[in-house]
């Protein structure tokens, strides 16, 4: 190998040795979205440390590899050596030392911070100031504030027109919901997770948390949000056709604003309970029902009530919808329309909505279904009836 070629080979190796660690050291490249909780900060630091080290290791080995590829070529007149393993003590040391170094990197340089971050992340039970329960269902999230008696469903707010490319996409396309989860800042919040149908996964990149929501089991995690703001995430576990359409939006408010929000929600609840005691006009039920339908039901049964053949039954012209729902004693008819909406159909995507919808919402949506998509039953379901049948 000529002197000039050797210089070139060394330069090629050196370029990789320098270039790749430079890439590795540029912190911003490996950063996750802006961390706003202690867990997210620590996760980000550990992860960036991991990536830098790993990329440096890669660059080092790759540089040796590239040097060899350039220097040890037959066309350069290289004569093959015949060694098949280390022989002298020095060679043995040379062979073994990378492994000692790797062990040290694995279990000390990376292992200790990773251990610390894991312990901090799993510390869900100490100094908890507040509890939130999150329930995943196909394809929306339900948030519950057990201490305040507040619960609501949070579903995708992006319109079908945007998704089907019939309207321009908004700035928060697919990452916007009707009712965001509102949380106070600077409080340690324990989040309990479960699901009603299949597994979902609650992932909020800025909080550094992701956990499976498992039907029938409670999982937990914690957040302490340091900065007010709106944070966006998505379901991370394939959960059926609507997997891409169940975003998570958290609005973090300072303590006082949060208290105002809680008070307003409670007032709404009182109003809703009062309304549930009244007889509602059919038009009001229809208006309200249409809104509920489009939010809760249309994802499967389609906005036109025609369903998806083979997957989700049509409501338009359906025998069940166009049939009675109460027997002569005023009890629910099993597998009648109202029973199906309130109690669901086990083993299918049709869930029991009495857990997630209010009396008014159930009454309204059933009334709507009976009088829309060409169905002409003409009757109404009243909130008081639903309340009595729960």
């Amino acid at each position: 190998m000529t002197g000039k070629k050797r210089v070139l080979a060394v330069l090629a190796g050196a370029a990789f040795a320098v270039f790749l660690p430079a890439l590795a050291l540029a912190k911003s490249i490996w950063d996750f979205p802006e961390p706003v909780t202690p867990v997210a900060h620590e996760t980000n630091e550990v992860s960036v440390l991991f990536m830098r080290l790993v990329m440096t290791m890669y660059a080092t080995v790759f540089a040796i590899f590239i040097y060899s590829v350039f220097a040890h070529r037959k066309s350069q007149g290289a004569k093959p050596a015949t060694f098949t393993g280390p022989r002298t003590t020095l060679q043995w040391l040379g062979v073994l030392s990378p492994f000692a170094l790797l062990l040290f990197i694995d279990y000390v340089v990376l292992g200790i911070p990773a251990y610390h971050a894991a312990v901090a992340m799993e510390d869900t039970k100490t100094n908890v100031e507040m509890v939130i329960k999150v329930t995943g269902s196909q394809w929306k999230w339900q948030y519950e504030y057990p201490d305040e008696g507040i619960k609501f469903v949070s579903a995708l707010a992006t319109t079908q027109d945007q998704i089907q490319n019939k309207a321009a996409k908004g700035a928060n396309y697919l990452l916007e919901v009707d009712n965001p989860l509102v949380l106070p800042t600077n409080k340690k919040i324990r989040i309990l997770l479960t699901a009603t149908d299949v597994m979902h996964s609650w992932w909020m990149p800025s909080f550094g948390v992701k956990r499976l929501a498992v039907p029938g089991y409670l999982r937990e995690m914690w957040v302490k949000i340091e900065k007010p703001g709106t944070y966006r995430g998505q379901c991370a576990q394939i959960c059926g056709d609507g997997h891409a359409f169940m975003p998570i939006v958290v609005e973090a408010l300072p303590e006082d604003k949060y208290k105002e929000w809680i008070a307003a929600r409670k007032a709404e609840r009182v109003a809703a309970e009062t309304a549930a005691g009244k007889v509602m006009a059919k038009e009001d039920l229809m208006d309200k029902g249409k809104a509920v339908y489009n939010k809760v039901c249309a994802a499967c049964h389609q906005p036109d009530g025609k369903g998806v053949p083979g997957a989700f039954p049509a409501l338009a012209g359906s025998k069940l919808v166009n049939g009675p729902f109460l027997d002569k004693d005023g009890r629910l008819i099993k597998d009648g329309h109202l029973d199906r909406v309130m109690n669901g159909k086990p083993g299918t995507a049709m869930q029991a909505f009495k857990g997630t919808l209010s009396d008014v919402e159930i009454a309204a949506v059933v009334t709507y279904e009976r009088n829309a998509f060409g169905n002409r039953m003409g009757d109404t379901v009243q909130p008081t009836q639903v309340k009595a049948l729960r």
Partner: protein, 533 residues
């Protein structure tokens, strides 16, 4: 697929049926090897088409081509077809073709089982794919669309006939894999030529012996798990139904107990053949042979003990999470050993860069990236960001494609002249390599950064902030797919007998019994065992 092998059918003294009957009834290891490899190649193209449809949907935000249900089916089928239809059968084909020749045996020890093992495969593929086509004539709701590990239990309860067909397909695939694994073990342990103790076997044979043990260990677990799923779905058991006292997470444990060793099942054959290629084209003996064997055993053993690192966000207890993190890190030691010995094998050699060597070197570069990112991902806290995001998609394609497929490609070009007796076009081979490298990285580097920015996987539609990464990745995947047609052209040309004749030795530096035979080798080889010096 009937590939005419020049010279074979005319061989005197060995009569066998011609045409399709030959291929249906053959118990010859070379015929079956060719069948396995052809099947693998066809499935590689089918799986590629599936994912290109998926990537076409992902070119832009919004729904353009596919319904969400169709999208879910296609990415699930892509994974199942690529892993069980393409990479594993292809590796089994190389194994079938080469192992008897490498150890100086007349054939595999159980030739009839070998025939059954292969012919189960097309049936399994039909079972897997038929619900996809049935939906177009209004039967069922399509193929399985729950991801290749099929572990979102209750979802499976609603998933229609697709998942049932997939379960039966998995049963058959498992049967096929286990028969070929048992055959390999029996052959390797009993039929080695005199003078070839275990520790003198070619590394490719070693890697397959270890793969075979891994298959025998984990394939039955996979079959059992999906059988439990089947009885849950149709026969009233409640293994995975929390409402009746079962545990959905149990299914994840069972499937990942199979799923992680499966990664090594895909990679081990590649790790076995890479040293052959490197040693041949560096004209230098394999570095650290014995320790490579031990390292592969160590990876098999550790690999069976770390499945939980796929489930670090499922809410396991902290102690279990720590165990799975630290045990996973331990795998870096034997893996690093393999990488170092590959580099030590070419170090101070006299290298030339024919296509197999390029793919072997490309394998080291890309697999190294997959392996090192694999050291990052079991970080428990970081896992909350990596898991089920595009980071994972990018990572495992660096191991499966950058490792498994690059390795298989090196094997194809290395042994193609031996199998067909014809040299391929070196310029086309090199073109194939460089296009594959460029487009592979173009496809999968953007995915890492999309995932890091918060994009979950399995999304039919995504937020505009991920648009650039997805667009680049989609374009990369189309070009990557198109580049593979060069390989198809090369293989078909050689199989049809075009191109210059290959010598017995083929490569200047090649060593081993298979290179002492003419190219292509006679229908029956080593009826009297050769003596290995």
């Amino acid at each position: 697929m009937t590939v005419a092998i020049p010279g074979v059918a005319r061989e005197a003294g060995h009569e066998y049926p011609a045409g399709i009957v030959r291929w249906l009834t053959t118990t010859n290891h070379k015929d079956l090897g060719i069948l396995y490899m052809s099947f693998g190649l066809i499935m590689f193209l089918v799986g590629g088409l599936f994912i290109m449809a998926v990537r076409a949907e992902l070119l832009f935000p919004g729904l353009q081509l596919l319904s969400p249900s169709m999208y879910n089916q296609l990415f699930t089928l892509h994974a199942l077809v690529m892993v069980f239809g393409a990479i594993m059968p292809f590796a089994t084909g190389l194994n079938n073709y080469l192992i008897p020749m490498m150890i100086g045996a007349p054939d595999m020890a159980l030739p009839r089982v070998n025939n059954w093992g292969f012919w189960i495969l097309p049936l399994a593929a039909i079972l897997l794919l038929i619900p996809f086509f049935l939906q177009f004539v209004g039967i069922g709701s399509g193929a399985t669309g729950v991801g290749w590990v099929m572990h979102n239990t209750s979802l499976d309860l609603q998933a229609g006939i697709g998942i049932d067909f997939a379960i039966f397909a998995v049963h058959l695939l498992g049967l096929s894999s286990v028969t070929s694994a048992i055959n390999t073990v029996v052959t390797v342990l009993n039929l080695r030529a005199p003078g070839m103790p275990l520790m003198k076997m070619p590394l490719f044979v070693w890697s397959w012996l270890i793969t075979a043990f891994s298959l025998i260990l984990v394939m039955p677990v996979f079959s059992a798990a999906v059988t439990m799923l089947l009885t849950d779905r149709h026969f009233g058991t409640h293994f995975f139904d929390a409402g009746a006292g079962g545990d959905p997470i149990l299914l994840q444990h069972l499937i990942w107990f199979f799923g992680h060793p499966e990664v090594y099942i895909v990679l081990l054959p590649a790790w076995g053949l890479i040293p052959h290629v490197l040693s041949t084209f560096a004209r230098k003996p394999i570095f650290g042979y014995k320790a490579q064997v031990y390292a592969m055993w160590a990876i098999l053993t550790l690999g069976a003990l770390v499945w939980g690192h796929h489930m670090l966000s499922s809410g396991m207890p902290l102690k279990a999470e720590l165990y799975f993190m630290f045990s996973t890190m331990a795998i870096s030691i034997p893996t690093a050993y393999l990488v170092f010995s590959w580099i030590a094998t070419i170090w101070r050699g006299a290298m030339t860069f024919e296509t197999p060597m390029l793919f072997a070197l490309g394998f080291i570069a890309h697999f190294g990236m997959g392996a090192l990112t694999g050291l990052v991902i079991p970080d428990i806290a970081g896992y909350a960001q990596y898991h089920n995001s595009y980071v994972i998609v990018s990572h495992f394609h660096y191991t499966f494609f950058g490792g498994g497929i690059f390795g298989m490609m090196a094997g194809v070009y290395y042994w193609l002249p031996k199998i067909t007796g014809r040299m391929y076009d070196e310029r086309l081979g090199k073109l194939h390599f460089w296009l594959t490298v460029i487009f592979f990285n173009l496809t999968f580097i953007p995915q890492w950064f999309a995932g890091q920015d918060g994009m979950p996987r399995h999304l039919v539609d995504y937020a505009p902030q991920f648009a650039t990464a997805n667009f680049v990745s989609s374009i990369g995947s189309f070009l990557l797919g198109a580049a593979q047609l060069i390989l198809v052209y090369i293989v078909i040309r050689c199989a049809r007998g075009a191109g210059p004749k290959a010598s017995a030795q083929v490569w200047e530096g090649a060593q081993g019994l298979e290179w002492t035979l003419p190219s292509p080798p006679p229908y029956h080889t080593f009826e009297t065992p050769p003596t290995v010096k």
